[in-house]
Symmetry: C2
Subunit: 249 residues, 2 copies
C-alpha cells in the first residue's frame, strides 16, 4: 500500500539545471527524490511534476505528486521534506491525494509571472530574480498588445524549436502587466490552459520590443498568422520567470 | 597628476569574502582594484572604503575613494567601471572629489539596514538577503527596546572580540523597526556616528530575543552597564545586513 501526496514546492531556480532529472546535474526532481529516498530508507520514489521548468527558472507554486510507501500525515510530510531539502527549495504545501491525481495530466491551467528590471545597469540584488531591459518602455503600448495576447491563438511563432507537441493552439485567460515604480520593474502575469516550450519568455521579449517601439503595437496579430518562430526572434532570460501557480479541477 | 574619485557601490555580498583584499579571495576591494587596474592599463590603483563589510554582508551605498592617473568625467568613470564589474556589484554614483576627501576618515555617520524573515521555513528567494527568525515576535516589545538603543552609550557588550578600537562609546541617532506584512519581514534601520565590529548584527540578535520574550524589554540598560560581550550572546547572520548609506560633512 502506498499513499499518493500532492506537494507544492517553491524554489530559486538559479542553481538548478531545471526540473527534470539529468545525469550528474543538480535538478529539482532529483533533489526531491533524494530527500524522499532518504525518508523511505533507500526505496526509490519517483516524483512527477506539473511540467518541466528550465535551468534558472523559479517556482513559487510548482506542484508534484509521488507515492510514498507509508501513510504519513500531510503536515509531517511537509516538515520532514523541509528538514531534508536544501535552502533554495521549500515545500509550501502538502496534501494527501487520490490515486487518480496526476501533477501533470490533471492540470487545467498555469499561471506564470515574469519580472523585468528596467534599471540602467544590472542591479546586484535582482540579477538572479529578474530579466533586465535597460531601454525606454511605453507601458501603454504593452497593455494594448496584451489584449491581443489574451484569447485562443495558434502560438507557433512563440514556441521554441525542440518541442514534440504538434498542437500549438492555447488559450490565455489573462495577461497583465503592472509597473512597480518603487522597484522600477515591470511585472507580467499570464494565466492560460497551457504554455509551449519557452512561450512565456518569447511573449515577454516580444512585448518589450513593442513597448520600446521596435515593433508595431498589434504585431501579435501578424505573428499569429505567419506561424514562424524566426519572426519573434528574442527570448527573455530564465532569471525573470516564475511558475506561480498550477490549477487543477 | 591624479584625480580623486568618490564612488558609491552596491553589492550582493553573498559571493564576496568581505570588503577588504585578502590573498586568493574574491573581495569587494580586490574586484574594484582589478577593474581600475584594467582601465589604467596595468597601473595599480588602491581603493579605500568607508569601512570593511564582512563576508556575506551587502551594501546599497558603500563609499570608496581612489586616485586615478587621468581626469575622466565622473559619468565616464561610472560607465567604465560598470562595464568591467561583475553582475553582483554596481557603481550607483561617481563624483570628482577633492584631495582631502577620504572615504573612511571623512565619514560622520552610517546607516545600516537589517532584514529578518519571520517565515516558518527558510524562503528560497530570501535566504541570501535576510536573516531568519522563525519564532513568535512581539514588535511592540522591540520598539520599546529600540528607544534604549538610541542615544550615546558604551557598546562594549555589543562588539565582537578582535577589534583594535579601545573607545566603545558610540551615538545612535535613529533606530527603527517596521513590520512588512506582505513580506512577513522585520526591517531594522540604524543611523549612528559609528559602529563597532559586528555591532548591528549583535544588536539585532538581542532585539529579536527581546521581541520573543527571552529577555527583559529593557535589558539593554543592563547590558550597557555590564560591558560584557558574553551577555549579548548571539550574532544575527551576515545575510540580512546592508550598509545602506555613508554620511559625510
Amino acid at each position: 500500500m502506498t499513499q499518493r501526496y500532492r506537494v507544492t514546492v517553491a524554489y530559486d531556480g538559479t542553481d538548478f539545471a531545471g526540473f527534470q532529472v539529468q545525469p550528474k546535474q543538480r535538478t529539482v526532481q532529483g533533489t526531491l527524490e533524494k530527500a524522499l529516498t532518504k525518508m523511505s530508507k533507500g526505496a526509490y520514489i519517483q516524483v512527477y511534476g506539473s511540467g518541466r521548468t528550465d535551468s534558472g527558472v523559479h517556482a513559487m507554486g510548482q506542484v508534484v505528486h509521488f507515492d510514498y510507501p507509508s501513510e504519513l500525515p500531510a503536515k509531517s510530510m511537509l516538515r520532514a521534506l523541509n528538514s531534508l531539502l536544501p535552502l533554495d527549495m521549500e515545500v509550501v504545501d502538502s496534501q494527501l491525494a487520490d490515486d487518480d491525481f496526476h501533477a501533470r495530466f490533471s492540470t487545467v491551467g498555469k499561471r506564470y509571472m515574469y519580472r523585468v528590471d528596467l534599471g540602467h545597469y544590472t542591479n546586484p540584488f535582482k540579477r538572479r530574480y529578474t530579466g533586465h531591459y535597460p531601454y525606454p518602455i511605453d507601458v501603454e503600448r504593452i497593455k494594448a498588445a496584451l489584449s491581443d495576447v489574451m484569447g485562443t491563438h495558434d502560438y507557433t511563432s512563440f514556441a521554441a524549436a525542440g518541442g514534440v507537441i504538434k498542437d500549438k493552439v492555447r488559450t490565455i485567460y489573462e495577461a497583465t502587466v503592472v509597473y512597480n515604480e518603487a522597484e522600477n520593474e515591470l511585472i507580467f502575469e499570464f494565466h492560460g490552459n497551457g504554455f509551449l516550450y519557452n512561450m512565456v519568455r518569447i511573449l515577454v521579449a516580444t512585448l518589450l520590443e513593442i513597448g520600446n517601439g521596435r515593433r508595431d503595437v498589434h504585431d501579435f496579430l501578424r505573428l499569429y498568422e505567419v506561424k514562424d518562430r524566426q519572426q519573434a526572434r528574442s527570448t527573455a532570460p530564465a532569471s525573470g520567470l516564475y511558475l506561480k501557480e498550477v490549477y487543477y479541477k
